[in-house]
Symmetry: C2
Subunit: 361 residues, 2 copies
């Protein structure tokens, strides 16, 4: 029968069988699906992209940098600040006590900034294009404003209906085919504003997600839920960046004092964060014996494109900027349905993966 | 987080988590669903019943015994014959060589009979009601016409569009909401005619299935696909019943010769049939350590009721007769969608279950 290879290792078979039955090339639609067509994708837990599905949204047509400045002139917004675009990402941490380096879960420093300041910073950094340091190469917990901290408006707390309310009228209040199919309104509608220096590390969410690109591009690397054994989920100690003035021995000038970001472990043990530490863009590092089996699905969203990202799919997201120097996207997040077999089966795969990888250690 | 118990055994957790998130009481609809509503159930791989959904079908309204006799007067039909209603069921087999008894997979004797003969046999057997022998208590491989062989028209080869073509016009050629949702026509439409002596043993199919009760009742015991470890799937040697005249030492008269059914092993090794040997109606027998965790979903179909049986659900089906002494049902079988995670995950659960139960032996 189809998809039944006869390997010794069920976790290996699971990924191989999945790959045999499913394409790693995303399905592309030319127009928005009906609610029923969408529900078929939900049933299959399979992504698709609607090319130009949101091309006529007011947001897509009007959100130039100047227009945003005008609309949000007096607003203050929450900004995630990291040295290397690594908000909520596995990050090497060197202990000040014993000099050992371990991976921790690095949360950004968060602060409110005037929207005008934030946007200008993003754009000027993007246009400088000075010796771009890709976020995943960041191995230091400290950077300076000289090399440029990375800022990203990425609160996922329904910010488009709160913090960015003046913009909300420019997007549909709901995606009709999703609302009708899922029989619920979005749990959150979020706006994301950043530049090419920010990357969202591989992770998964218990949400049905629809991403809409407004300006610039988002580059998704997608893995299905069955790939749990490949992502090397590891319990990481949480740490958070904080601003600090510090001595630096940098450049050719023998040091000085600059503002930087220091990664600080959070207090308390036992609050570890289980997180994927394998990066499909650096497949040789932090791999498990299952990682090489994975066939990631790659999709780039251009302005006006819509992506359905099914619940529990792993996704890593990087960004390119519009000619104006920004990357802007909106996503509609719907609570997933925890009934049926998929959620318990996903927990099961996670549990078996964890046992198998522990045994191998 | 919901559904995450912290047990040691992932297979146990899987069933427990599933039970926590899903009701074991079937959802009942008062009218047929829309294609979209149906697709939501498909997405959740969750059964439902539409009470009286087919009450106005011509079949439901007109298929009396006399009417069927009239329509099929000259037809000959395929009949499955067994000693105890155990077609395609795990059955004890006693070797004539060494007297040892093992479970085998018993296939019925199949033969063509005039429809009139077949129907009269069913009805008169049902009305005799003599010391009913429940099929699962059958432990002999031989019976005689004196106790009554069991006959069941149960070919699942699209028989309503072939063998029983004169009846096909009395049911819809397709179920509109299923055809639209699944975007396909039924792979097979089958008619089932039997009496209360036949039972279909617990098994699962790779089909989306819609059962429609026409006369009498069907009693379903349903288990979700995550319960694989509970059903004690075992590789059984296939055997088939065949008619034979044989000596009997029966009754008070010192024996004689009667026609009986003899269970004969099929030739050739290596053709074993993996089959569930746990019976949810006799939970103490052939159980695994997971069987007691299962919460079977029970549903009885009355005439006109429709059942959606999602792909890969285990089902055991027994029957009650109409006052006329027959049980008649139709099912529409649609190919399942093998894409997405569910099929590979089901294979995975099967594989892990098999390893876990082997280890325990």
């Amino acid at each position: 029968m189809m998809g039944n290879s006869e390997n010794e290792d069920p976790l290996e078979d699971l990924i191989i069988n999945y790959n045999e039955l499913n394409s790693s090339v995303i399905e592309e639609l030319d127009e928005e699906p009906s609610a029923l067509e969408f529900m078929r994708f939900v049933a299959r837990n399979t992504p698709f992209v609607v090319r130009s599905g949101a091309a006529n949204w007011q947001a897509t047509r009007t959100w130039t940098v100047n227009y945003l400045r005008e609309l949000l002139r007096d607003e203050s917004v929450n900004v995630a600040v990291t040295p290397a675009g690594n908000a909520d990402a596995p990050t090497p941490y060197t202990s000040p006590d014993d000099g050992t380096t371990t991976l921790v879960f690095a949360k950004p420093h968060e602060e409110d900034q005037p929207f005008m300041t934030f946007l200008s910073y993003l754009i000027s950094q993007e246009h400088r294009q000075q010796s771009p340091q890709t976020p995943s190469q960041a191995t230091t917990s400290i950077t300076t404003t000289a090399t440029g901290e990375i800022r990203y408006a990425q609160t996922q707390n329904d910010n488009l209906r709160h913090e960015y309310l003046p913009l909300f009228a420019h997007v549909p209040a709901t995606i009709p085919w999703a609302r009708i199919a899922l029989a619920r309104d979005p749990d959150a509608i979020n706006l994301w504003i950043g530049n090419s220096r920010s990357v969202t590390a591989l992770h998964k969410d218990n949400y049905e997600n629809i991403y809409v690109q407004i300006a610039g591009q988002k580059h998704f690397v997608l893995l299905p839920p069955v790939c749990h054994a490949a992502v090397n989920e590891t319990r990481l100690r949480p740490a958070v960046y904080r601003r600090r003035r510090m001595e630096v021995s940098g450049g050719g000038e023998g040091g000085g004092e600059e503002e930087g970001l220091e990664l600080v472990l959070e207090e308390g043990e036992g609050e570890e964060v289980p997180f994927a530490i394998w990066d499909p863009d650096r497949p040789g590092e932090n791999a498990t014996r299952y990682s090489a089996l994975v066939q990631p699905m790659l999709v780039t969203l251009d302005p006006g494109d819509m992506l359905y990202l099914p619940c529990m799919w792993y996704h890593k997201v990087s960004q390119s900027c519009s000619p104006e120097g920004v990357c802007i996207a909106v996503n509609y997040r719907y609570d997933m349905d925890f009934t049926g077999p998929l959620y318990p089966l996903s927990t099961f795969v996670r549990s078996i993966s964890s046992k198998a990888l522990q045994r191998a250690e």
